[in-house]
Amino acid sequence: MGTVTARARVLDVPGDGEGVNRHFLEQGWTDGLPIVPPTEAAVAAMLDWTDRDPAEALGAMPPEWAPATVEGVAINAVMAGCRPEYFPVVLAAVRAVLDPDYNLYGIQATTNPVTPFLVVNGPVRGELGINGGAGCLGPGWPANATIGRAVRLCLLNLGGGRPGVLDRATHGQPGKYTMCIAENEEENPWGPLHVHRGFAAATSTVTVLAPCGTQNIIDQCSTTAQSLLMTLCHAAAYVGSNNIFLGGEPTLVLCPEHAALLHRGGFTRRDVARFLYDHARTALAAFSPENVEGMLRRRRPRLFDGLPGHFLVPIAEAPEHFHLIVAGGPGPHSLFMPSFGQTTRAITVPIERPARRP
């Protein structure tokens, strides 16, 4: 358990819901969309879904480094429109982004459009209706929409990451409003992500990644695993991607049809990652001279110093750095998600249930 801090103060905001919304908007406490007023009763209902002390600080949230208390997270979860039973997932996600290896300071303050992307695994997906199938990235799914939004409101209100002020993103991205899915475990031929990351199948978890966006990869013609992998490799290894410049942990969100094709071709999860590591590459000659010097050789001289133009630049430094997730519904579309680079790592945290269900 973390440090125990002061509780939030109660505001007396006159007027109806519209007046409350106007006040919160004027104070800069929203993401620009209407919020659900965080009344004492609504926050208490949220807090019923954790055994943690409301005053417990989960950690200091950058860039303002204010303590992120359990109560503070609950207030933002109410504002985001979460149902109380979603709160354990929100709490786990906040604990995950506060892990030092996630580097939330960099993610909040950078010009890069990166944002937390939540992938939920385990039985909680079905219990809460978190969608991992058709259209899972939205719109239209209350649990996906509000859980991801709750984390964003925490980053704004507890971390102080105001866009254009301490959040220095050049454009940001739509995923900075909310970005949360379940994994489509039932159609992942290699088993769920959280099991691959060392958790029991019956444990529910949240994995947070830091993608800079989603890039559609359409392939509706390939009939062999190798053919599909050619498409995936070419789509992922483009000059200008974070990962080809900075290394790190690129993510592929495979649609069920693509995952099945790879599996039918005899490729294990490890084989796919190995293929991506070996072949998702671009020749050094395709980079501008300034980028070869400034982005590749100066940052990672061990890899690139003195190499000729035909040398191939990988998008990760090891096969195990690739994240392979299965999500989505029918259709020939997978997603490539470049990450923030080597300065962030995916974090998986188990979801805690209260000892007594409210």
Binding site: P63, E64, W65, A109, G160, V165, L166, R168
Partner: protein, 74 residues
């Protein structure tokens, strides 16, 4: 070790917040124009030359006199 913290003007508010949050609210910042990553080397060299007196000042002024003299006007 005497240290001068340099940042571009776009990041000065963030640097001030970070310094304040970490307990150094009067940490002097040497602020240079933004951007410099995509500017010609000669322009960047000019930024450095212009910033040099402030860097030397921060590195050579006793700590007690530096307090409260933020170069970003904070």
């Amino acid at each position: 070790v005497p240290t001068a913290l340099c940042c571009s003007e776009t990041f000065a508010p963030l640097a001030r917040m970070e310094a304040t949050a970490k307990g150094y609210p009067t940490l002097p910042l040497v602020v240079v124009p933004h951007p410099f990553g995509t500017m010609p080397a000669a322009v960047v060299r000019g930024y450095a030359v212009n910033a040099l007196p402030d860097v030397i000042d921060v590195l050579t002024t006793p700590l007690e006199r530096l307090a409260g003299r933020g170069r970003d006007g904070a």
